[in-house]
Symmetry: D3
């Protein structure tokens, strides 16, 4: 049932950032009320809550994907803080971003490293 | 010294695939004899052999980076087999690629999943 | 309920290509049995079957996304044939890919145009 | 003749945003006086003014291309407002961006959705 | 006049590869007869034939763009051979692709280097 | 020896911007003290200081790579100013970015052109 996906998604995303689902719902409430739920239900309820990888490993996958993609700074910051919440150390997060350099080039790694710096400063 | 980077790089890359450094050297011997060494020395000797993440976690970072980037099939195949060599299970490799779908979209995940299928068939 | 998503997804994807869901299930049955369902349920059941855009407009969005992304030839071929099935003309499909050139550059448009040629030849 | 391309391009771009050609000419007047004309003449005069797709469908192609590409926020805002000018509804614009999520991932769709929010707030 | 763009474009593209315009026209004659002309007229007639950079420097820009973009192998091969025709040496072409590695990552550089190998073998 | 790479890298990067290595070391000193050195040693010490292309040609490759990649504005600004330092004219830098439009699309070229404007204004 849909409510299972929602509950699983809320729990998995809540581990990364307890407020992010609410912030997204508020941000898109007026123009796209279903959009935040789609992220919760699919990305977190269907995929990231699957049992095959533990939350720390999944967060390495997320951070790598965001770094290589050249995702926005805010998103990388959110997920860098989430990485610490699921048990990765700062150094592990830094190593993850550093390892993106030989695969996706230094500009992507530099942008993500700047986001880590802001995430760790808070 | 450069020879340390080379040795560290050969060891780290050899864990993924004992033959890949040789194959790359042969492939580029005529046009770019230094290119394969650059990959060994920098990507593996400087970055991936760093102690901060264990080989299995590093290989998740590598597979995610290649999937999101839309790297060539052969490269993804090589690194999927390497993932098994450093101790990841087939299911963990599959979960890693699957998790790229919400971040980088299904076309990239489908392409990588097809490479996994070939890697696992051997 | 999940079965609604599946039914809606099968119907929406079936309009594009009646056989593609089955081909994907077969392709990934051994390594990732849930992966094809994820595409059907989320991409088609949750998103593409929404009422806000008619199937022809949605297929323009799909073809543009695949072209700009540099998706694989087979995927673009499948969706070019699907575009004809949902009522776009060959010329409309060609215009869509051509319009990607000023936004994503000629190499992406050339690659997609070659896929259209193969799709239309069948 | 070149003046035809210019006139066709000015008209097609003017439908999206009556001021954007002028703003671009001003922005690049000092360093690249031909650059804005190149956009008008080629993107709009040669491609987007072609008869094969109506302006609303072309704007769906444009918005999809910008979203998938990860184009700058200002450009997406400009084209979201342009989409309303050529007759698309807010909901259709939102659906277009939402449909990019399964193809290009949520980070690109989130960034574009944030630009839509700003475009619609004005 | 349009015929000037065409003539300038044919000349500039002909310097890279005397046959490529004809091959493209033939390839797309049936589905998109204007598409090859668009490449000749805009990419070569409007942009690459401009006087500000000599043909060898322009071909370095082209090869870098194709490598970073992850363009198709055939296109990179064509432009690698074109680079030799406009006076670059094999080593200069190799250095250009190698320099893309720190900016765009090794997978893109490896793919382009493999295309150079095929280009130089003929 | 590593110190040779460092010295070669500092010299090559210093030609682009005498302060950038220091700024990067300061920026990442707390979270990733080795990261700036990695850029100096590998990107500049191993690759960009190689003799096969002169500094002006190498900077064209760098600017093209950053433009096509959609790198951050600050990075493009830094390298546009660096381009002037290694002997390129403003017009040559502009031509380089303009030529990216047919290969990577106008949005990437527009973003880079805006960075050039800021670089040239200083």
């Amino acid at each position: 049932m849909s409510s299972d996906r929602r509950a699983r998604g809320e729990e998995a995303l809540g581990r990364i950032d307890p407020d992010v689902a609410g912030r997204m719902r508020e941000a898109f409430a007026e123009i796209a009320p279903d959009f935040a739920d789609m992220i919760v239900d699919f990305a977190y309820g269907d995929v990231i809550s699957r049992p095959g990888l533990d939350p720390a490993r999944r967060q390495l996958v997320t951070l790598t994907a965001l770094t290589v993609l050249g995702a926005g700074t805010d998103l990388i910051e959110t997920h860098a803080r989430g990485a610490l919440r699921v048990g990765l150390t700062r150094d592990e997060v830094v190593e993850c971003v550093m390892q993106c350099a030989p695969f996706a080039g230094f500009p992507r790694a530099i942008a993500a490293m700047a986001a880590l710096r802001r995430a760790f400063a808070e």
